[in-house]
Symmetry: D2
Subunit: 213 residues, 4 copies
């Protein structure tokens, strides 16, 4: 039986690189994959971009409210409205790879599980567990509940320990200095420049003065 | 640095056995451990009971609303109000083991992380991920967000695949027959006899007619 | 497809308990399992004994030179020469569990892989990785090469870190004092009383004056 | 305490990509890493090359018979004979990353463990477990014995299952056709063109007519 995998990691842990490598591995063996990501917060951007310098366009974006199973079936069958010519003889899909999966809606994550179980296609969902206040995103909360397998992608904190949390820093538009913030919306609003840094739990608690979310 | 571990598994995956074995391993090496579990739903029961037949009393229960860090410190220091004689020279605690951790409150899970990071004591929290409707419990939701390491304890479905979900069955008081239910409170109310069965995702969706929560 | 799992851990990490729990989980769901262990060094002892106090007899011992696939088939079919009455209608076997798997011969481990792949029966092999000189046993060396999945069962060193190595201590028959030894046969010979202690790499190197095997 | 990690995977599972991503993650946080690989079979080639298209030069090669601890110390201290100018104020090294670690000598793997335990520097060793006859290489055999943590990098077989074994194919110089071979030296000799394909255990046994090594 195919499975739903949640490969989670702090920001800058190499999730997109891992996804692109997995896609490469399938294709190198002559198998077909589909790549997708949530439309939310991407502003229509269709690229999956690895910080190592590799990038690739997704096969489809998942809009808010979309039925991810129907989307998958349409693209898997080659009945792609964006394609110039339908793939009449599209080979079956060996794997669905989803980037930024934390931004999916919970029902869309349910759809990923159905794709694995009912369509028989393995789903590799890559994303972060929690926001800058140590709270899960809607998509990651559901993935943590549903995924057959939870696999961590590791990265390191500035202190050398494993990073587990993400922090947000606001950049002063004039001085370019950064300061940690522990209040605000889960997805940063336009007009405020922010950066993120992955920290271990000890460094997080030090910066937040002991606050956890 | 000490870590918070969430060792999760479906019902009847051997969580209590694992906990008792871990406690045994520490003590066999001359180290002191503390065992705890949430008071919720235990009706005051202080035993950790393995289906293999091994059992042991916890060192403390965690009542609703309790400050788990303060509780831990009090018991670690030997200043145990339940003890007949205070352990004046109590050795330091090498590990805190928590059973049924899904029933903790989110703030109490925050406390477990603080015990690991600020007190330097590893915390092994054992519990189930989700209820019979594939929704996490308050404690497990927070553990999935915060734990340094997520480790799965596996068990098998009736079909031989790995079980990932828990199902509830209501037992007819007269005929003793059981039927699956997919509605109801997270914690079964008194007066209705229920049993639980761990299923894989495919068997779950078959029994639920495709419902997920 | 069924898989061969190697669940390895230092001595006293709870391997037998884990095996007995896994067997219990299968049987609780109405499935049949077979338990086995190598005859080597067991002196005919047929018990799997957990330090937690649980024990159970194996279904068959694996003698030196034996064909483990043939042995498995004979016992799975119910054609058990040790049984008083053949199980004419023996249900199919859902899992083969092997204790002390480090003592198997390499070809017998090949057989375990064949049982998984060709007979379609999952095999859970429990054992230790290395001897007191950090060298693998014949069976564990082959399991580390062949197993589909390597899963670690953890235990702790006297210093609180994870134990990864095993050390041997010789007990003085008169004074009952123990001293670490780093020379000798892989399996201790009769007539010399030895004990074992699991250590982390740092404590091992300290006791061995920097020797590794 | 720093640890020795063995991140193993079948050929073409993305090991070099993983190594380069890990190096990137450290450096992005302002930390210094060292990259190395065995000189054996590299013909002096100093590049680590990912099939995704990313590449980077190692800091040092490990020649046959070399003392890997001494090599590490010399390069960590900035006393690099290959460097035009010594790094007088070289920052301490946060991580040593080793590619193609299966080609190290067993004593050199011992050295990696010492670097982790005695120098306090984490070592990430990437390599394959076994050759085309399912036998470990000298370096991987020792890593499987010694590493604190074994982490699998997964890839897929042509049939869609997880690949665990590597197979060798000889390419006919005239017809360019390939055929599987299951005899020959562990490292292919010059003059014969070979390719490798990662297979699951079932496909391996099918191609080898049931041979395992």
């Amino acid at each position: 039986m195919a499975k739903l995998y949640f490969r989670y990691g702090a920001m800058n842990s190499g999730k997109s690189t891992g996804l692109l490598q997995a896609a490469f591995n399938y294709e190198e063996r002559g198998q077909r994959v589909l790549l997708a990501k949530p439309e939310l917060d991407t502003k229509g951007e269709r690229q999956i971009l690895s910080r190592l310098g590799v990038s690739r366009e997704v096969d489809f974006l998942v809009p808010a409210g979309a039925d991810v199973v129907a989307l998958f079936r349409r693209h898997a069958s080659g009945d792609d409205p964006d394609a110039l010519v339908g793939h009449v003889d599209a080979p079956s899909v060996a794997c669905l790879l989803v980037d930024e999966a934390q931004f999916l809606e919970p029902e869309q994550v349910d759809g990923l599980l159905r794709i694995a179980v009912e369509e028989g296609v393995p789903v590799l969902a890559y994303g972060i567990r929690t926001d800058f206040r140590t709270r899960s995103f809607p998509g990651s909360a559901r993935l943590l509940e549903l995924a057959h397998t939870l696999e961590e992608l590791k990265t390191i904190c500035r202190c050398g320990r494993k990073a587990v949390f993400n922090t947000r820093k606001v950049v002063d538009p004039v001085t370019r200095t950064e300061r940690f913030v522990f209040d605000g919306d889960q997805v940063a609003i336009d007009g405020v420049e922010v950066t993120y840094e992955s920290l271990c739990a000890a460094c997080y608690l030090e910066e937040s003065d002991g606050r956890l979310g």
